[in-house]
Symmetry: C2
Subunit: 486 residues, 2 copies
Amino acid sequence: MGNSSRFSTILHLCSFLVLLYSLSMLVPILISFIYGENELHAFLITFVVAFSIGFIGWKATDSGDKNLRTRDGFMVAVIFWVSFSIISTLPLYLDRRLGLSMTDALFEGISGITTTGASVLSHIDTLPKSILYYRAQLNFLGGLGIIVLAVAVMPFLGIGGAKLYQSEMPGPMKEEKLTPRLADTARNLWVIYTAMAVLCGLSYYAAGMNWFDALCHSLSTVSLGGFSTHDDSLGYYHSAPIEIVGGVFSILAALNFSLYYIVILNRSFKPIFKNSEVRFFIFVLFIIVSIVCLELYRTGTFDAKDSLVHGFFQAVSIMTDNGLGAGNFPHWPAQVVLLLMGASFFGGCVGSTCGGIKAMRFLLLYRQGSREIDQLIHPNAVYQIKVGGDSVSDRVIQSVWGLFFLFIFFSCAFIWGLVAMGYDLPTAFGTVAACINNMGFGYGETASGFGGLTDPAKWLMCVAMIFGRLEIFPVLIVLSRTYWRF
Amino acid sequence: MGNSSRFSTILHLCSFLVLLYSLSMLVPILISFIYGENELHAFLITFVVAFSIGFIGWKATDSGDKNLRTRDGFMVAVIFWVSFSIISTLPLYLDRRLGLSMTDALFEGISGITTTGASVLSHIDTLPKSILYYRAQLNFLGGLGIIVLAVAVMPFLGIGGAKLYQSEMPGPMKEEKLTPRLADTARNLWVIYTAMAVLCGLSYYAAGMNWFDALCHSLSTVSLGGFSTHDDSLGYYHSAPIEIVGGVFSILAALNFSLYYIVILNRSFKPIFKNSEVRFFIFVLFIIVSIVCLELYRTGTFDAKDSLVHGFFQAVSIMTDNGLGAGNFPHWPAQVVLLLMGASFFGGCVGSTCGGIKAMRFLLLYRQGSREIDQLIHPNAVYQIKVGGDSVSDRVIQSVWGLFFLFIFFSCAFIWGLVAMGYDLPTAFGTVAACINNMGFGYGETASGFGGLTDPAKWLMCVAMIFGRLEIFPVLIVLSRTYWRF
Ligand SMILES: [K+]
Ligand SMILES: [K+]
């Protein structure tokens, strides 16, 4: 199959996804009717435009024999996220009540669909319900895309050792068996993801939210997106139960979703408790939460109970790259805020909607660091790095190192870019951590929102959000000479 | 050979080195006589104490059969740097004219012997000549120790892929031939290093320094130590020729010293120009210098000529981790200062006195990053990473990744430690960059000196300097359980 025919197949697939996505615009229209908000044209126009483009693109292109090469997956991932970002931007730009510039709308749209949750909007409490719901839906659908990408697509592309976590998967999730049923896998994940959102929404409602807030926050919590319906995020409620619900569901959403599938298949929770990545994630999370709670108490920021509740919720929310806030987080002691900003690079498990470098990769780097010490002491011994009982191939380890290096390198480059634009180092660090890790909570000048950034800074951070979401490699690959050579 | 007998051999070797080192105290005594400074007791006491300890230790221990195991090298490296740090501290603590606390003296001593060049002293211009000379000599001897360690010891230990750079070495420097002549190698390196210092001193003198300043600055330049005889460092002279001499010799001192040995053996400069690491180092240096000069000019900090001179000198001085200053560097635009602080993690070549992670390792990481992209596009192709024509083994690459990870990890940990002590992020970042990279130039509160740090912060930075100087692994190894298990 030639280049042009393969490209046609890619466009065929992406057009179909755009077509599907256009239907999601109908839900905010419904919300708009329910609340008697008469500004429908933004969503209607977007629906018509996206539906038309998707439909025409779908009809005009050929599915070919549907056998894309592995490397075409990179192109699909990049086109998917860029086109969905642009479509998501449209309603935000068209809605006259928001009065957003093109750049602001794009930032908000990308932030939503990449589940970053960084917002340029202020006075969120006063926004129309349809917009508030739409933002939460952006998070939710973006998260769904990520899970499918991470569980069903990335492993075949091999980015950052993505094949790795499958080594622990029993039967049905093994790579060789997964291939023919991409659609099946996607459907199963979708069901699990939606079920978790329903459970989360009911819990929020039980903890005291009204049904609309519970709906929106459940969508943005299970996607670890972090858009809220209030300027003060979860802090608006001053409610320990709500924060605990938010924290617990952030943790649940940060686990590998294919584990839930296995749990259901096996009717046993053992696969979760026995999973090395989950154990390592919970271990590191426990350490970070403990330090945060202790520091909050030691510095007199809160009393014992509030230190525990706010500390638990906020540490989990930032580390899993959810980014919901409470307890006036930006004013916490600098060392606590910086620790959490740093922890946001850690993220959660592979195969979830969290951002950052992810626990599995740190586990591997940690194992190799220890092995290196043993190896230096006993230079002639042969050490194998094992995860979940299986030894990890050098190929996978080097792939992980490559991703780690690029993540650090681009983080530094983005930070330097912001400093060159005139921002101070804490702001630059916090803003880049918020965007490249799809975490969404800034620091310094962006602590209370990203609207104050200059347009070039916003564009740079849009790039950072997409880089982080796609784990950098797909973007570099699609831009590389090797990719286009034949 | 049992543990205790091997430990005795280690002590025997270290005692002998302490004995030798005690003799170096006689030079500042001589300087003291020349300048009629009557405070000799600090150096005399140190001489007597170190000589006695060294002599007794040497006599009381047994050389054994002199066949230490490879892993004993880690212990030697750690004991060497810790004991030399303590001895170097003594004169600074004992000299009543300085009035330093124990912590300050220790910081200054470690800073000198690790060639960091961070100073707690103020009003340096008014210090006695013997002290000024002594500080420069600390840099010089510390640098000598590092070169011997890096060229003759580290390769056998295999830290951070140290075996790697030998792949490019022709005959006489190959590992297998180097083994039996550690002493020969050390002597040859010592001659080259001293010759470079003489050349550097003459150049400084020709450029307008008085002979004493030329002597001290030549010692601290070829060691990339960075101690100066003036508060304003090289900025004191307001002289372009002096800055150019400083810059050129910083570059020369940042190349692998075994290359000079080969140049002399082969009577040809070709080995230097053909060396992959040198080429990569010069390439990155050129980019950084260009950005710095352009930014200085663009922001109107200096006119064209000064942008070029100050930009060249200061970029080279910081990136090679020399740390001499000029042109009021701390007040340059933040993006320039941060770029250079970042570049100090890059350093120069392996086998020199520079600090940081070093060019060879970044070259390898870069090569692997590119390979990873090719590999992802063509998953079934077999790619080899090559440096200087030879392919690099997976073992070496993983060793380099291990070091990279630990360097980043400990940098973050130290930065967080300073933030937890109440310092702002720019100060914490600049201070850690200055110390862990043995660079010596701080930022924010430490821009004009490290004397203002609290005692705990100074102690933490002492650890950072030693960690950086020993490339972390030896310290972790000596502290690991595996090391002591048998
Ligand atoms: K988020
Ligand atoms: K230095």
